[in-house]
């Protein structure tokens, strides 16, 4: 059995401490530097943006993780993405990590770096340098919220959670924090996510981690734009004294479920906080030929401006959903397809069915609901999560002038 911890976050698992401070990078004076530290070197898995334009910290972390599969700390700054900053930017990312290694007296290549914010500006290294000793000094074990707030940019809400599971060998905790509302420069909403656990994980658990990424952070979309800084880092430090391999099969499954819950809920919290978003919609594709196809189709529908405007307008517009599905590049046969808004069926075998119009409109007036497309050509399913496209989205992204 798992339980969700109240006010949980990256510090909920044993052996993690964190800090968040205002270092003066943001003109607003809001917190803009954060540090997450494990008391011992933690197994580290990380997945980065597939954007060909990669920010300096992404390039640095990838280089570090080519050789090491452990990390002791992650230092983060918000307010500046350190992207499109050339060789100097790379040196800055490297220096930022090395400064933390020095102050914490850690071995080389044991600290990772993340940045999020404006593209094309060099990091203010004087402020970073002054901030690091203050961060280290401020480290404590109840700092989940402090950490979670210092990584935010245009986000409106803190995105932090933790889940605890009981096993025969004792308690294991999975925590996490993330930030993002879907944009890049100038509104600085790169997606960053940090997952912590006090379990000890074998290196080949990376495959499972990647799977979970695909169904959580890679299953969401706000506006279809992939940032230059996207990063998800997991640290598993083994401080609980429990090794994954020592759990029985059902406990292993439970741990994976807890990990999935943390990652999915964090991912959904990004969509809920998407720019201009008024609704969170689960797009579920069922009975597809493969999980990959189901997810690809669900995400594709999730980027359809027409479908997203209809969601904003509270219009149960099945034509836009079906047409988008058809142009996703995935296999489907229109004549086999059923479609539901919530529990209300609107299409059967590709043709409109008579339905209770009041019930249908009640579904689309909700803040969160499910659209379910049943392809009837296979046995695989997947969900993607999207928000609606509102006036405010255009406003937020059009009114800014560089």
């Amino acid at each position: 059995m798992y339980s969700i911890l109240k006010n949980g976050g990256v510090c909920s698992p044993k052996g993690f401490s964190a800090a968040g401070i205002s270092a003066g990078i943001k003109v607003s004076g809001n917190p803009d530097m954060a540090l997450l530290k494990s008391e011992k070197a933690a197994r580290c898995f990380a997945v980065f943006t597939t954007n060909k334009v990669k920010a300096a910290p992404v390039l640095y972390d990838k280089a570090v993780l080519e050789h090491a599969h452990f990390a002791s700390a992650v230092v983060v700054n918000s307010g500046n993405a350190n992207a499109c900053t050339g060789e100097k930017g790379y040196e800055d990312a490297k220096n930022m990590a090395e400064m933390v290694e020095n102050v914490l007296n850690l071995t080389p290549h044991s600290v990772l770096v993340c940045s999020t914010g404006v593209i094309g500006h060099l990091l203010p290294m004087d402020k970073i340098e002054a901030g690091i000793p203050r961060l280290v000094e401020g480290l404590h074990e109840n700092a989940s919220e402090e950490f979670g707030r210092a990584i935010l940019t245009t986000d409106l809400a803190l995105k932090s959670m933790a889940v605890e599971i009981q096993t025969e060998k004792g308690t294991i905790t999975v925590g996490g924090a993330c930030k993002g509302s879907g944009m890049i420069h100038p509104k600085m909403a790169t997606m960053l996510a940090f997952i912590t656990s006090d379990i000890a994980l074998p290196i080949d658990f990376f495959a499972t981690f990647r799977e979970k990424i695909s169904d959580s952070f890679n299953a969401i979309t706000v506006d279809g734009d992939t940032s230059t800084n996207d990063t998800c880092i997991m640290l598993a430090n083994g401080v609980s004294g429990i090794r994954y391999e020592d759990l029985n099969v059902s406990e292993q499954e439970e741990f994976c479920l807890a990990l999935e819950i943390v990652m999915k809920e964090l991912a959904k919290s990004i969509v809920r906080d998407g720019e201009g978003a008024t609704k969170l919609i689960e797009l579920r594709v069922e009975k597809a030929e493969s999980h990959e196809e189901a997810l690809k189709m669900a995400r594709f529908i999730g980027t359809s401006n027409l479908a997203k405007c209809a969601m904003f307008g509270e219009d149960p517009n099945w034509g836009r959903i079906l047409s988008s599905a058809g142009s996703s590049g995935c296999n489907m046969v229109a004549e086999h397809t059923d479609l539901y808004f919530g529990d209300v069926q609107v299409l059967s075998g590709g043709r409109p069915v008579e339905c209770d119009t009041n019930a249908l409109h009640a579904v689309v007036r909700q803040k969160e609901y499910q659209v379910r497309l049943v392809l009837n050509i296979g046995n695989a399913s997947a969900s993607a999560y999207t928000c609606d496209l509102s006036y405010d989205y255009v406003k937020i992204n059009a009114e800014y002038t560089t």
Copy 2:
């Protein structure tokens, strides 16, 4: 030398007549049926939507053209897409074609059908049936505008043009009309395009036609949503007495250029009339590894909501352009990339350059301008055309309720 004909259209080439009437399919009473006829069977090329959900007329035309490479007429209705209408819809499309064949006394499978409008409703066949004799009766050779207007749905502007070229063997004319502002149900802006010419074309010219499609109608985007009814049909009837094979090489090139101009200008007229659009932007990718990659990247940027909102906000936001290019899946090296808004360079080798801010803002305040991304990794180029994403786009697509 080519010249653009004033008020030109599908009837400009010799041997074509057309008609447009109000048959009562649209509640507005606006023209909603059109007929295009060649005095002799014309070489016919057609390209259809890649959407897996294909409208009945698309399925019918594809079936006809599998066996025939000639057509004598195209009958079109607007106001109803005849999509997601099952077997009955297919029968209706077939009947519509056969009725025209009967009234015009043509051979079977010599008439194509196009529909555009609301998805999911059966065609009002009584109105169609009553309209066909009236269409045939109304056929005349100065009907370019009549035809062009009867195929429109939510379009604000007529989209029609023709180009004439002089060869040693005489005059050849290329005409065309299209409709579309980027939507499907409920605003009925499926893309339909009709190209006519009085040249005689060999069957293997289809490859050239497809190339031109890729650089014109397939190079535009309004909202990234591919309709169920997209169709581009070309009819070349040879009535000029000139065969393509008999032209010299430079005349052949000139004919291809004329065809390209007609197709590109018609395509751009769709973007200009895109829902809520206030600007037309050419996204040009240069020095890419291949034409396909250049076009794919240009189109990908053209669907970025972030980039499109910035265009609406008259913000020369290079970060959004570069980041979108990087996530297009095409090859690029950030450090080699240059970027221009109009003639103003903003990036050199992936890094911001000092530029004349006033000149830069003057560019993005224009109604139409070019954004040029120079990858410096190859020799291929391509352009895509997009419009901005405005409040009105959201308004048009959210306020309608089915």
